[in-house]
């Protein structure tokens, strides 16, 4: 017999009613504390960076969700049909990040040194070479453009998916596939631009062609872990009980494993090329991140973001075991630390500081985003209802209409 089974497969639903008000409470408490940070002038800088950190964290989830939807359509995959609605809902939350971008738009001239430089016309060769991108109108144009593209693709993809729930028409699948052709290019371009503008340009002198891929790898890693947890919970609670089978969890686990390696590969490559070339214009970024306790954070990323999940996920049976729950929670912590490593050394060059505003902004944005997600979850069916691939996903053979017609025309079934 199979020696392992999914922890949720036979259990009764959990009583989650006491957790219901949690997102709201997080939002209120986090919001009040964040407001203090916003209003007190000496905390304003910390507030802006903490906000950026949490904003990028939840952007990771939206982008990861969008990427998984694109991947599903581009590969014409059948295994991922049951998780597609979860991904679509995650991706669609990106529209709520538009109002949440306002503090960053507002404080950008204070956060991004190149904005100040270009305001004061200070000569800076690094900036001069990158001026076509790093100028103030471009910053806002790129931001608006990215949000528009994200909003367009995520809502369109979910629109046709929901349309298919109603009609069951294969035309919807074709529409989504066409959207995904353009979507994957738009994904690559917009994520690159956004992450260069919002995160990398905190130190505009730096060069790294890996940076956007690095953010992408970490984001998708986080998202896969999150989707695993969400679908596991929904299987236990009932809505996905019939459709989330071992295959789905096993493939999600394998994808998480793949992205654990992919992230490490990308991050190591970025570090290695800079280390090997040893050019001050590039090394300064890592020199800053090897000072004080940032060194230890770097070690936590190597061992906690890569080695630990790598070794845990290596065994084939772990991908269906209870260990995936701590791994999923761990992924949240690691991605948070990873983003801190990128963003926070600018204002805390001496070492890692977990400021209460980090937690406040995270609680506020997190509480808000979870609420928006739950609202969408409640509004639509939990998985695609009439996807033409569904019987294939469930391992049921349905003969194509043409062969059934042929059989009846030739005098019934053999």
């Amino acid at each position: 017999m199979s020696s392992h089974s999914n922890p949720s497969s036979s259990a009764t639903p959990l009583d989650l009613s006491k957790w219901r008000p949690l997102p709201m409470r997080l939002m209120v408490v986090g919001g009040v504390l964040a407001l203090i940070g916003l209003l007190k002038p000496d905390l304003r800088e910390q507030f802006a960076f903490s906000w950026l950190l949490s904003f990028m964290f939840f952007l990771s989830l939206c982008m990861g969700g969008w990427f998984l939807v694109l991947l599903h359509h581009l590969f014409d995959a059948s295994w991922s049909v049951p998780i597609r609605r979860v991904n679509e809902n995650l991706a669609c939350q990106v529209r709520w990040l538009i109002p949440l971008f306002l503090p960053i738009a507002l404080f950008a001239p204070k956060m991004y040194p190149w904005m100040g430089l270009s305001l004061n016309h200070t000569p800076d060769h690094a900036l001069h070479a990158k001026e076509s991108l790093f100028n103030i109108p471009m910053f806002y144009l790129v931001s608006i453009g990215c949000f528009f593209v994200w909003w367009f693709f995520t809502t369109k993809l979910r629109f046709w998916s929901l349309e298919q729930d109603r009609t069951g028409s294969a035309e919807c699948t074709h529409r989504m596939r066409k959207l995904s052709y353009f979507g994957i290019f738009s994904f690559a371009i917009t994520v690159t631009l956004a992450v260069i503008m919002w995160m990398k340009s905190l130190q505009h002198q730096w060069f790294s062609t890996m940076y956007a891929v690095y953010f992408f790898a970490g984001s998708v890693w986080l998202t896969i872990a999150t989707v695993y947890l969400i679908t596991l919970l929904l299987k236990r609670q009932g809505p996905l009980r019939e459709v989330m089978q071992e295959t789905q969890f096993y493939f999600l686990g394998s994808l998480l494993f793949a992205f654990t390696v992919f992230y490490a590969y990308i991050h190591f490559s970025q570090y290695f090329i800079i280390w090997n070339a040893n050019i001050p214009e590039e090394t300064f970024w890592y020199v800053l991140r090897e000072k004080g306790s940032w060194w230890d954070i770097g070690m936590i990323i190597i061992f906690g973001h890569f080695f630990l999940p790598f070794l845990v996920l290596l065994r084939i049976d772990v991908k269906l075991s209870w260990l995936m729950i701590p791994v999923g929670i761990w992924a949240w912590l690691m991605h948070f630390i990873d983003l801190s490593f990128n963003i926070m050394p600018i204002i805390h060059p001496d070492g890692f500081v977990l400021h209460w505003l980090d937690l406040a902004c995270f609680a506020f944005i997190g509480g808000f985003m979870v609420q928006r997600y739950l609202k969408d979850y409640a509004a639509y069916p939990p998985y695609p209802q009439k996807d033409p691939r569904f019987s294939e996903t469930m391992g049921i053979h349905v003969p194509p209409v043409s062969s059934r017609e042929a059989a009846s025309a030739s005098g019934g079934a053999k």
Partner: protein, 179 residues
């Protein structure tokens, strides 16, 4: 079949994968260990129906990979830091960063060696002959028939009882296979 030859096992033939699957479950539940199924194409869920556990090949590739990684690191450390040290760009004589890419490549290479050699070892391959290849109908396993073979070397094997068990699974052809 000559009287003097030893019996290798009993072979039972089935027409459909479903029949084979149910038969495999029965054989599994009877506690046999030295038996196998043969199908023209992979049948999903057969590993479970047979009660097979994870393959041990993973351990061979893991050990291969670890050996490859250590070989790479040791080789580069020996060559660049001990045996013939050349200072480059003021960098340390040995650094795990610099040695990582070749070590990583060797991890993959030795891991693949471990996997393929481990697979051959666990399957007792290569071998020049197998008793089943003499069996006339067995060639159909590459065409449209499905087979279960229970070996006589299985501790639970008994000529009459095992034949009865296979009969109870609905097989139409049950024959002995000479060794």
């Amino acid at each position: 079949m000559s009287e003097s030859s030893k019996l290798y096992g009993l072979i039972a033939e089935f027409d459909t994968p479903a029949a084979l699957m149910h038969a495999a479950e029965k054989v599994r539940d009877s506690g046999f260990r030295k038996w196998d199924v043969f199908t023209p194409f992979p049948v999903h869920g057969m590993d479970k129906a047979m009660g097979m556990r994870n393959s041990k090949v993973g351990w061979f590739s893991f050990i291969g990979g670890a050996t490859g990684y250590l070989t790479g690191m040791l080789m580069i450390w020996w060559m660049n830091a001990v045996d013939y040290a050349i200072p480059v760009g003021g960098k340390p004589m040995f650094s795990p960063h610099g040695a990582f890419p070749p070590s990583y490549e060797l991890t993959i290479l030795f891991g693949a060696f471990g996997a393929i050699l481990g697979m051959l070892f666990l399957n007792r391959l290569p071998r020049l002959h197998h008793p089943l290849l003499k069996h006339k109908r067995f060639a159909l396993a590459t065409h449209d028939r499905f087979f279960i073979v229970i070996e006589t070397s299985d501790p639970k094997f008994s000529g009459t009882d095992t034949r009865k068990l296979l009969e109870s699974t609905g097989s139409k052809h049950i024959e002995g296979v000479e060794d």
